[in-house]
Symmetry: C2
Subunit: 432 residues, 2 copies
């Protein structure tokens, strides 16, 4: 088994074995609805014992009405990929073409397994991925808090049939205008219609069953710095699995990627970012970087502007056994995730205190507007989430900047740095 | 024949008969592509003879590549209603399920008619509607310029097969953060697929033809004031017609409406706005206001927030001979358009100089964010336009505010004016 960051994973495994999970809640109505604000706490708040965001201890549940949708929404991109007919769930309990609330036996099994044996390298990938994303969320949040000098607000909830989510958001900090780092774990059931759509990419799926249990887990982050010289960055890594009736794994795949969105081009930053990602890719497959770099440029294309959202990175989806074995792909995702802080921290460190002018701030605000356009008009995950009744909109739209601007017929001056950026966005380049 | 504003119409008719139109351009390539900026001029600029925006004199053509799409986009809402399959045109010349470039005989006929006899009360509705919207655009732009003390930037273009558009935009003025008043006239051809979709609402359409010529004309405006106490307003009125092979009218209908989006509720303002619209409706049909007010609340519903975009107004579509005769409906639309300035001017006059705090400005910015969400996520016309290759994006997104804000988990204080607004948006009220 290849592990790119064994120390981190080990830590995650140890952490997740410390406390037993609460018994699976089968009836949402047994919970007392609480206002989301009541559940907030500060990560590593000195006044309380440090509690890792992934730990089960003090978290409370959100109003039952919001829970299924919350889970769906956080990994909207992932779930969208299985429901490409643009039909989001039409209700929380009996969604059309989406997810049905059914007895989630893999959730029960996972819960039992966590309580009895903890999570080890021999646990199902579901549990290892959950531990992995929560550990990384915690690492990233703590690192960003140190950088910014401000604390993230943490909202945490459980889902009635297993799984849950943690939203960490830092707003109007010292370095970041808005930063969100979210994890989500969902157990659910896919109806026949969704299964047949997913078969296009995953032949292991049985077309003859009425429904299939599924599991999904992912980490998403978007960081919008204040300084116009510092780029916005986005990252998302996710794992999806369906189960046979006997609880064994049916189909599974990984997806995700990361991309950089600067307002001003510093070639050295873009090269550094791409170099780090490429190194992570190259360690697993010499073709990955070029394949997934191209895929990223294609996915983050703002069609109506005929430009990419930023200077790219990597994007991939549906990586399953037809690509490589599960351990190899998990190791690849671990490498990618591990490359994130090294790829972005040196850039934000260099740019966060650079001087800027009012004109440059306005340009940043215009570029923020383009970011909003991509996310609200073209991003499949956002669209899917927003069209899901009862969705936790605040978690979906966490990706939007704090402020944005739309100026009629704004055009960068000839020969300006702004014009150079737009040129690169209209014609994606090779950076490494 | 009933004319609600005969003086205005007469003026429009006179104006449109003053100068002969240029001959119809059949070959786009014969034009020299000009940068859109080259075509700008100031309405009523004292240094030049006053030229009404609708007059044919000094306007030049935009690069041929942009023209068809430009026309499509301006009345995206209208054209969307005929292509409900969410399939926007896939190219400018041979759109899929959209509009085909063909010999536009009604355009030729209209052009000849304008040159030979001018536009009179006996002209086809196409020409009367065109004259009507251009006259109103001019009235509204001049009134708003007087109010604001700033000039609109005017962009004007012709379409290769007849028709064209005029965009008037005022940005960062004294009263308005952003104000756009657009007209558009389109001649085109509907393919069989689009015809069969439109038949659901218009039985007059012949399902057995391969294509039908169509005409569409509309006026759209969005005004975003600076002052958080002053409401944003939106208006759109449009006319659509298809022609038989012999050039006679096949099917036709009117659509449109107007709605108000305040950041702070002044009941007297909302009542005044609705009262004016209701009076315009009541003069034609005692049921119109209640029917179209309900339709407005339903259309401008931001589903994912479970709130309306604003406090409504009226919205209607597909009003054809099954509703009333053409003259009666034109008279109704004229009344609605005529009610606009009286419905909004007293409100903006009262609110534009009110004192406001930084907190109130931030609330306005958050509401602007919601406006962006509706327009980019839910508005069918915007979606259709943005998905149309080669669309004039600046004209579509003219409706977006200059600045907007997204704040994670912002909630109005209990008992505050902000909370009262949200309450009304979640449960639309009867105002008159």
């Amino acid at each position: 088994m290849a592990l790119a960051r064994p120390a981190v994973l080990d830590a995650a495994l140890r952490q997740c074995t410390r406390a037993p999970r609460r018994p699976l809640c089968r009836h949402a109505d047994q919970h007392i609805p609480l206002h989301p604000r009541l559940q907030r706490r500060w990560i590593s708040d000195g006044s309380r014992p440090p509690v890792p965001p992934g730990s089960p201890g003090p978290s409370k549940v959100i109003a039952p009405k919001t829970r299924l949708a919350v889970g769906i929404v956080f990994i909207g991109t992932l779930i969208y990929s299985m429901a490409t007919g643009n039909d989001p769930p039409t209700s929380q309990d009996t969604p059309k073409g989406g997810i049905q609330a059914e007895s989630p036996t893999i959730a029960e099994r996972d819960n039992l397994s966590k309580r009895e044996s903890g999570i080890t390298a021999h646990s199902p990938m579901r549990l290892r991925m959950e531990a992995f994303i929560k550990e990384n969320q915690q690492d990233i949040v703590r690192t960003l808090e140190t950088l910014d000098g401000s604390r993230f607000v943490v909202d945490k909830w459980d889902r009635p049939h297993g799984g849950g989510g943690i939203s960490c958001v830092l707003q109007d900090g010292n370095v970041f205008e808005k930063a969100g780092v979210n994890t989500s774990v969902v157990y659910g059931s896919l109806p026949r219609q969704a299964i047949s759509k997913m078969r296009a990419n995953h032949k292991a799926l049985d077309p003859d069953v009425e429904s299939l249990e599924f599991f999904a887990a992912g980490l998403s982050l978007v960081l919008h710095p204040h300084n116009p010289m510092a780029p916005t960055v986005h990252l998302n890594y996710r794992y999806f699995e369906t189960a046979n009736a006997d609880g064994t794994t049916n189909a599974w795949w990984f997806g995700g990627g990361t991309d950089l969105t600067p307002n001003y081009l510093f070639d050295e930053d873009v090269i550094h970012f791409h170099r780090n990602i490429k190194d992570a890719c190259d360690a697993h497959d010499k073709d990955y970087y070029s394949r997934f770099k191209k895929w990223c440029d294609e996915y983050f294309h703002v069609k109506h502007r005929n430009e990419t959202r930023g200077v790219g990175g990597i994007f991939f989806d549906d990586l399953d056994e037809s690509e490589k074995d599960q351990e190899s792909l998990f190791a690849f995702v671990q490498s990618c995730m591990g490359a994130f802080l090294p790829s972005y921290l040196p850039i934000i460190q260099k740019r966060k205190d650079m001087p800027w002018t009012e004109r440059e701030k306005q340009w940043q605000q215009l570029r923020r507007g383009r970011y909003v356009e991509f996310n609200l008009v073209h991003d499949r995950g956002t669209a899917f989430g927003l069209n899901t009744p009862g969705a936790r909109v605040e978690s979906i739209l966490m990706s939007l900047p704090l402020t944005a601007r739309w100026q009629y017929q704004h055009e960068p001056e000839k020969g300006s740095r702004e014009e150079r950026l737009v040129g690169v966005l209209k014609k994606p380049q090779e950076w490494v």
